[in-house]
């Protein structure tokens, strides 16, 4: 079985791999190469998903469907959601940063199963191309990223079947990745490194991977049943043939509520790495952070039916799922206050990484509040399937996770490339993104509360002005990508040389050269007992003498 490289092969691996640019297009087993493959591939899909979002917002500038026909709108909408979730957010917060950072954090030279890791990545490009090609070949799926029957069983079959195939491949990739992360965090730790000494991102990835392994297979099974309904005309989810649509919803959300945590837990972890470094303070409440991640994992598995309050869900079930959902706000709130406390009194360097992290905290708490509101049945029955829900989850997924992805790129770019990003462009990027994002999505709360349904190409003319506001915000978001793109490309060649540890950080990935050697560290892996030991006088850092921004720029 080709589950992993034999341990003995480890020493020979580097010489077998291509070097230079070529390795990024190869079946590399180096976790750093794979991490970057995930990141760049994910970003390309983000640009595609962004273009699709642009098409949606253009259509919605006017109340009539004059920019594209309605069925094309449905396809664009479905592709947008699927691309953004399965090809951008999930691969990037898990695969990209996970692969790059986790081996460093556990003091290993690679992931537990390097070859499985490469397989997991190489499932993604074909799956993504398959998905997008469906638009040109037969017309893409039209039933949204949720693929609810009967929508998915009554719209054109070919596009839906390709969609299912693609999501199955991506789910497989995600499961392989999850197995690898669990094994790496639990089994590959450097001797002497205890679980409770790991950087928080390891815990976040452990929790996320547990969710991936437990819930993604259920989605796979469900989609297989759905494909039977489409191709073989069975009636699992077809009441006309004695089946039951609600069972699909239960199975789907058993995966997809955990999936929202698969998208946001890693982001929690990444912010927890970034903030202490730039505030020169230990992460506040390490142990409570760990316990709340694990509480979210457990609770996250038992709240799924809050997506189904209007699906004829019986009262006892509504009650149970409302209460369970309210409970999950507790560990989430603990994390929120821990980040605030980490910032509190810190010597904060307000650089792009911190700006995006703070943007995350603000947006995420807004999305969390609307989330708790949505979990209340009397409120939800009014706004379910309206733009309010769209606003809610974009505040979480974009305002939360995507902001963190950008923060992480600003934070780790020096490590990956050996050069600094341009700060001015970074701040411009943040400003445009933050304003554009809020302008785009804040008005959608109002739209939803006033009854505009989601997933429609045409709407009541009274909503036109607010939709135009929202579209203007989307335009700003699109523009905000330009300084970012220019920055990452230009800085790769002309940026200032970063040095090994430009932020004076303590986590192990900084205790090596930038970019790191194939074996991660020349010689022995460092043993970091206190990844957040800032504020403890360590000879490397003179806290009394310097402000945060001095420290941050002192590595030049």
């Amino acid at each position: 079985m080709t589950v992993s490289l034999t341990p003995q092969g480890e020493q020979h691996r580097p010489s077998l791999q291509p070097t230079g640019w070529l390795r990024y297009f190869s079946f590399s087993v180096d976790h750093k190469v794979i991490g970057l493959q995930y990141l760049v591939c994910g970003f390309l899909f983000y640009l595609i998903g962004g273009a699709l979002a642009g098409a949606i917002r253009t259509e919605l500038v006017s109340p009539m469907s004059d920019f594209m026909p309605r069925d094309v709108y449905n396809q664009v909408l479905t592709l947008h959601g699927t691309v953004m979730i399965f090809l951008w957010i999930v691969p990037v917060v898990n695969g990209a940063f996970g692969n790059y950072l986790i081996p460093f954090y556990v003091g290993a030279r690679d992931m537990a199963f390097p070859r499985l890791n490469a397989v997991a990545f190489w499932l993604i490009p074909p799956a993504g191309l398959l998905l997008i090609s469906s638009y040109f070949i037969t017309g893409a799926a039209q039933s949204g990223w949720t693929a609810y029957p009967p929508l998915s069983t009554t719209t054109a079959a070919s596009g839906q079947v390709i969609w299912i195939l693609s999501v199955l491949l991506l789910g497989g990739s995600s499961i392989f990745g999850g197995i690898n992360f669990i094994a790496t965090v639990l089994k590959l730790r450097r001797p002497g490194l205890k679980l409770m000494q790991l950087p928080m991102y390891c815990w976040a990835m452990l929790g996320t991977s547990i969710l991936v392994v437990l819930s993604t297979p259920v989605l796979a099974g469900t989609l297989i049943l759905l494909s039977f309904d489409i191709v073989a005309h069975t009636g699992f989810f077809n009441p006309g043939l004695g089946g039951n649509v609600v069972v699909y919803q239960h199975l789907f959300w058993f995966y997809s509520h955990p999936a929202v945590y698969i998208m946001v837990l890693p982001a929690f972890g990444l912010v927890s790495e970034i903030l202490p470094v730039h505030c020169r303070k230990p992460l506040f409440g390490y142990a409570t952070m760990v316990y709340s991640i694990m509480a979210i994992v457990v609770l996250g598995l038992v709240v799924w039916a809050h997506h189904m309050f209007t699906s004829g869900t019986p009262p006892w079930m509504r009650l149970f799922f409302t209460i369970a959902t309210a409970f999950i706000a507790v560990p989430t709130g603990i994390k929120f206050f821990n980040w605030l406390a980490t910032l509190w009194g810190g010597r904060i360097a307000l650089n792009s990484a911190v700006l995006f992290s703070c943007g995350f905290i603000i947006n995420f708490v807004l999305g969390g509040i609307t989330g708790v509101a949505l979990a209340q049945v009397p409120f939800d029955v009014h706004v379910h399937d309206t733009y309010f829900v769209v606003a809610h989850f974009h505040y979480i997924v974009y305002g939360g996770t995507v902001f963190v992805i950008f923060a992480s790129i600003y934070h780790w770019y020096p490590k990956v490339t050996g050069r600094m990003l341009n700060e001015t462009l970074g701040r411009l990027h943040f400003l445009l993104t933050f304003i554009g994002f809020n302008l785009c999505f804040a008005p959608q709360h109002w739209l939803g509360l006033n009854g505009m349904p989601r997933r429609v190409a045409e709407y009541d003319p009274q909503f036109a002005f607010i939709n135009q506001l929202s579209s203007a915000g989307a335009l700003l978001m699109a523009i905000s990508t330009l300084p970012f793109l220019w920055n990452v490309v230009d800085s790769a060649f002309r940026g200032e040389i970063a040095g090994d540890n430009p932020w004076n950080a303590l986590t192990p990935e900084w205790l090596t050269s930038s970019p790191p050697p194939v074996e991660n560290w020349e010689g022995e892996a460092p043993l970091v007992h206190e990844p957040y030991g800032y504020g403890v006088p360590i000879d490397q850092i003179d806290l009394a003498a310097a402000s945060g921004s001095d420290l941050w720029s002192s590595g030049k």
């Binding site: 049943l225 004695g242 199975l251």
Partner: protein
């Protein structure tokens, strides 16, 4: 049962250098947890259908039990024979191990044949009604697992050959991995048998 301990023989030295420990069995076990969740989803769907979607009177069957009972016995015995194969490999008796492996594969194939016989004698087809569809989906998905398992057993059987094979008492991983998988597939069958045929 297969142990989840690293199958590398050199456990003592691995304590000092973690890079030399073999975590592949841990990976296989985690994968099987994921696989079990796929079945769990199917079971949940089946049980929900069973509880809330009553069938038309003409779609209610008394399933014949002899064949599925035979199938259960075949699989349970094959788990035992696989266990025997593993024991012999650990003793270094590759030839005996291969005989047990072949017996296991034959039992697995016998299961598949008997399953086919059942399929062709059942009074309903895939799309006849909800129960029929779920029945075929569940047993079919399980049958796929058995087919894959039987193939992998044959591969391990080939790899156990002396003197050139790569599976030896020093390198047991392929056999241990397939053995764990096979026990898992048998366990799933028992659950399947209980909920499909007995309730």
């Amino acid at each position: 049962m297969t142990s989840l301990k690293p199958s590398s023989t050199d456990v003592a030295s691995s304590a000092t250098d973690h890079a030399h420990q073999d975590h592949r069995m841990f990976g296989v076990a985690t994968f099987l947890v994921a696989d079990a969740m796929t079945f769990a989803g199917f079971f949940a769907a089946y049980l929900t259908f069973h509880a809330v979607n009553p069938l038309q009177p003409d779609a209610i069957y008394e399933l014949e039990l002899p064949l599925p009972i035979l199938n259960t016995v075949l699989l349970l015995v094959s788990s035992a024979t696989f266990h025997k194969a593993g024991q012999n490999l650990r003793k270094g008796a590759n030839q005996v191990c291969r005989q047990w492996l072949m017996l296991t594969a034959v039992l697995g194939l016998a299961f598949l044949v008997s399953q086919m016989v059942e399929y062709f004698t059942l009074p309903f087809g895939l799309t006849d009604n909800l129960f029929a569809s779920t029945f075929y989906a569940l047993t079919g998905f399980h049958g796929l697992h058995v087919t894959l398992g039987a193939l992998m057993i044959l591969i391990v059987w080939w790899q156990c050959r002396t003197p050139a094979g790569r599976v030896t008492s020093e390198n047991q991983f392929p056999l241990e991995a397939v053995e764990l998988y096979w026990h898992f597939v048998d366990g799933i069958w028992v659950v399947l048998f209980l909920i499909l045929y007995l309730i």
